[in-house]
Assembly symmetry: C2
Homo-oligomer: 288 residues x 2
Amino acid sequence: MAHSSKHAESQPETSNRSPSGKDQGTLIIIGGHEDKEGRRDILKEVAQHVQGRGLIIATVASHKPEGYFESYQQGFDGLEVGELTELYVNERPEASDQDRLKVFENAGGIFFSGGDQLRITSQIGATPLEARIQQLFQAGGVVAGTSAGASVMCETMLIKGSSEESYRVGDLQMGPGLGLIRGVIIDQHFAERGRIGRLLGAVAQNPRVLGIGIDEDTAIVVNDRHFKVIGSGAVYVADGAEISFSNSSEARTNEALSLHDVRLHVLSAGEEFDLETRRPSASHLKKA
Amino acid sequence: MAHSSKHAESQPETSNRSPSGKDQGTLIIIGGHEDKEGRRDILKEVAQHVQGRGLIIATVASHKPEGYFESYQQGFDGLEVGELTELYVNERPEASDQDRLKVFENAGGIFFSGGDQLRITSQIGATPLEARIQQLFQAGGVVAGTSAGASVMCETMLIKGSSEESYRVGDLQMGPGLGLIRGVIIDQHFAERGRIGRLLGAVAQNPRVLGIGIDEDTAIVVNDRHFKVIGSGAVYVADGAEISFSNSSEARTNEALSLHDVRLHVLSAGEEFDLETRRPSASHLKKA
């Protein structure tokens, strides 16, 4: 894993090149509370994709970012990443500050910590900072995010909805995310916060999107419309393509959701999923 | 709704007669915390099936049954049920006590309150008391149960398993239940306690059984292998018939479950489901 200092040509020997020939990076989408002290499977995966270059820790999701950066410094300690740099945006104009954007020059990746996904999008949407993230990603870099940093990856992101109860029509806030991954809705802290209800509520609104629920200390590593699962928990994929009935549009607000014929997959570490065919691939699995 | 005192002939003008001609009653399987003060939709349904005859409140699931009976006395107040009688079994020999069994003479139904499903089966399994419950049911009576009293209805009942985390192989205790409903596993407090993981774990063990998860203040009313949903929450049906991959048998204990192609239905009040065809029927729905 060479530490390259040639910025313009600093792309890795990429296996991330899409069939279209367009360079594209890796997304590492984490369900929150990734292990930072033990096996560190997820942080190791991030480090592997950063390939010795710099890693930006974007704490912008948090209203009180103190301590986040330090915990990642400790978490990545001893792993093969270059310099870690914190990126915070207190006020939106800072996201256009050229000095602040210099952190991208050596960066092989950016890692969004948790907090409030709306804070990320409202502070950096349509700014030079957001453009640099897109450039980094298109150039083969890694964009990682945990918790709020996971939700924000989507075109349409889940913002708020009740946990630990079944979905009630209308009880869901969604909004435009960073759009780094198409056609999916991500939810995080999935099993831990009992969120199958709200994920199904989102899928019911438009079965075009696949619902992906990611447990804590669990992540999907996305390349070219294909992901693999890493970490200690499970990833749930709710596919609504075959839904035969839903009361999503005609029910009164607060009425319980009704939804027939959702296809559900539960995936664990080592498994892969193709977002285009909407199918898991288990052939490579060597379990037990 | 006539108040009949003719015990032997006290069966209702039954619509519960199965196609085989065998008399069979109604199961009302409740996900816990049914409303006892407001709309009381579930208690009203129980009363309707009891048809003015007596209702036995079986508090046997609880190690400390104090207060349960009184709360149901208040809950059923003003509804068209006959006398409410408490049935508790402190020690197993009491379940053979003929005096105690006299409560069945006027009864149109029995209602199991919550607690520990193992306490129900260990105290009454293979006793004259259990035989009377089966007789009551076969004669067209209603057997209702909430929480532990819901789980216990199954042939194989779910006893224990982690909530609010994804299922890990081996993390599930099941055992023989009362066997009043075939081919299903019931779980309760479903959305509220984040139990999709453990229900899928049970279905993965043998997709012959349909997994049915019932929210609080929600119930299924089962007649002749067909149920309808009542109450304020949702009922989840996990159908594993099409499962294409599972690590349930070969994974190591404590490894995260992997399961592909579960069919999931979310049903709300007024919807019906056929346990034989494994299909919901939405045709009758008049929503919005």
